[in-house]
């Protein structure tokens, strides 16, 4: 089965569940993913993080961005949501522990055009990390250390699987060189894209084509920082020094694989969160439990979420992110 995209290129879609699961490629990918999870837990545990299990449904979840729809469920007659991200619960959980992580499933009904980006799934998992009292730079350092550790462990322990997948471990030489990941501001990335002839909206997220263009020019992961307000959710903190800019970041993989991770310093003051909710078109009334916790006080924090299937795709060198899922849900495609 395949689908023809707007650009006329054919993107393969998953085979039947049996064929997909029995494929040597899938089995190798899932073993790599297992190694990724193992290494991530190992690294975070060694750095003092506590793993928590986040909820699957709740009255609200991350409002998200880029047009993805939440899934409503009937919870005893109340509209509940499947989690699209653990962000609100991560902030709340810092009242229990200072350094937490969770590995959580998320469901987002992505717009249909994402079925041809090769890197969108309607159901996926995130390695979600949050640190009380941390700055954006602290969170970026954790993300950088985590990705480097995971890649190193996979190279060390999963050579056989990488060989089955035809992934040359030398692809990670620059990443594992110890040189810090580059940091580039959103405005500079926009300027770069304009220089490449790409029509990037300076007030918006770097679009998928733009991300792929920037990613294709890199040989190791790099950070994009300082996204404009209007491009992200209410919880990304606005810079005091640069009003209109957010204290956030994305981590992009090289070789055209694009975004792996999004993170930020968080808004945690009640008034700021309410105002930002309005700026992002949200109705504060539906965030009752969260706002009560915020009003009573939650710690300032910074954190991030790494897309597990995207990280697996990059490390395994896969064409499409759905290949990194045992039961892939490509947006708009009916599947088990």
């Amino acid at each position: 089965m395949d689908t023809t995209t707007d650009t006329g290129t054919a993107t393969p879609l998953p085979a039947s569940p049996r064929e997909h699961l029995a494929s040597p490629t899938t089995r190798a990918v899932l073993r790599v993913q297992h190694a990724v999870l193992d290494a991530a837990r190992e690294h975070l545990r060694e750095h003092g993080f506590t793993e928590m299990l986040p909820p699957i449904i709740g009255p609200v979840t991350d409002p998200g961005a880029r047009g993805a729809k939440q899934v409503d469920v009937d919870y005893y007659g109340h509209r509940y949501k499947l989690m699209t991200s653990a962000i609100l619960y991560k902030q709340a959980s810092l009242t229990a522990f200072d350094k937490i992580f969770c590995i959580a499933p998320n469901v987002r009904l992505e717009p249909l055009e994402t079925s041809s980006t090769s890197r969108h799934l309607a159901e996926f998992h995130q390695i979600d990390v949050e640190v009380a009292g941390a700055s954006r730079e602290d969170a970026m350092a954790v993300a950088e250390g985590l990705v480097a550790h995971v890649v190193r462990r996979v190279v060390e322990r999963s050579a056989a699987e990488l060989e089955v997948l035809g992934r040359d471990p030398d692809a990670f030489a620059d990443l594992l060189s110890g040189r810090p990941f580059e940091r580039r501001a959103h405005a500079a990335a926009v300027a770069d894209l304009h220089g490449l002839g790409h029509d990037q909206n300076p007030d918006a997220e770097i679009d998928w084509t733009g991300e792929a263009m920037l990613s294709a020019k890199a040989s190791r992961p790099f950070f994009l920082t300082d996204y404009p307000k209007g491009s992200r959710g209410f919880y990304d903190k606005e810079s005091r020094d640069q009003p209109g800019r957010l204290r956030n970041f994305d981590l992009l993989a090289p070789e055209g694989y694009g975004e792996l991770c999004s993170g930020s310093e968080r808004e945690h003051e009640y008034g700021a969160i309410i105002a930002r909710m309005r700026e992002t078109g949200e109705n504060p009334a539906k965030y009752g439990w969260y706002l009560k916790m915020v009003r009573d006080g939650i710690p300032g924090s910074a954190g991030f979420g790494i897309g597990l299937e995207r990280l697996t795709r990059y490390i395994a060198g896969l064409e499409s992110v759905w290949q990194a899922s045992a039961y892939p849900k490509v947006p708009g495609v009916v599947s088990p």
């Binding site: 880029r66 729809k69 009904l109 249909l112 700026e279």
Partner: protein
Amino acid sequence: MTGLRAGTFPEAAVRERARTGTAAAFPDLADYGHALFGAPAADPAADELDAARLVPPVFVPERLEKLIDLAREPLPTDVDLTTDIGGFASALPVYLSAFGSTQVASADLGQAASGQAGALGVPMVVGENVVPVNGYGRLTGGAGRSLLGRIRAYADAAPDGLGGVVVQQSTEDADAEVWNLVYSDPSARPLLDSGRLGFELKVGQGAKPGLGGMTVVDAAEGGRLSEQFAVEPVFDPASGRVLRCASPGTFTEEILRQQVRLMRNNFPRARVWVKLPPGRDVAAAAAVAWEAGADAVTVDGAEGGSGWAPTAFLAGVGLPLAECLRRIGAPAGCLLVSGRVWEGLRAVKCLALGARATGLGRAALIAVDEDPRAGLVRLVECLALELRMLVSALGKYRVPALSPDDVWSPRGWAVPERAPLGAVR
């Protein structure tokens, strides 16, 4: 007919147009050869826009240009009414305003109007709370009165390349994620792929600026909606009915700016419209919306509105449409206006005073109530004939060529300085 009434609106005239179409642009045919005509003796002006007159010039250089182009004297039929409305190609400078979920539109009128607006090739705005009140219509089978029903009725009738559907969302509708729902819906994909889907940020309403949408619901329905809306027991309990109130939403310049940017970020393939109430700072709000990248700003004059509203607001709250136009002046972007527009004369005045197009609200509802199959089409055909006659009378053959100097108001209107006589070729 459903028994729909519009006591503060020229209902009879609209119904006549819905029945007879273009013939209604003229006096009763039975009077021809018997009656002597002239301006109406009594001043029928209801507001400043009605009191204003269109003032054709003697010298018509643009007619000369058209004459040269055609190699014959131009006629009203030579007027090009096609235009761009908020990013959509439209057959006429007209769009269908949102009806929301008020009871009159919840009946099948909303769907009847949708199909006819599609056939006319003009954009249609769909009220946001159709989803929480009537449902989206996807998993529940028959689309019927739902949002999906209206979208399908429109899309099935629309000619290729013309028109567009604009879906509203206001504060409470963020809960239902109406925009995200539509944007990710396979049913809406043909509209999205053909560039004919838009979203409208509902900042306020014409007939009740400063208040949110209001509907009257029975007590049981009120209970169901009470999680999402305020429900007030303002009526005699014996009536079994309650008032359901939405919020107007909290806006500052920064909130409006960022919401527009968020819409552009989240829905890059959809057009972005912003609907403003007739507030005293309407010009500043419109400027913020355009600067943030809105494809259109819609302003409802205080005369507008098809829904339930407190009488105090209908009588004395909000700027009249004429004053909104005056305060906005020369718009920096696409300006769309509505407020008691149903015929060509008032529409052309609005277009000359800066609007790109005018909305039909109550007029459209009355027209489809008169004839659900073709009432709106006939009303708009009559309006289009008047537009062509009036625009050509002003010596112009394109709608964007209209300007404030085409309008004279007895109460005064800021008319741009005329070019010196010698400059007129």
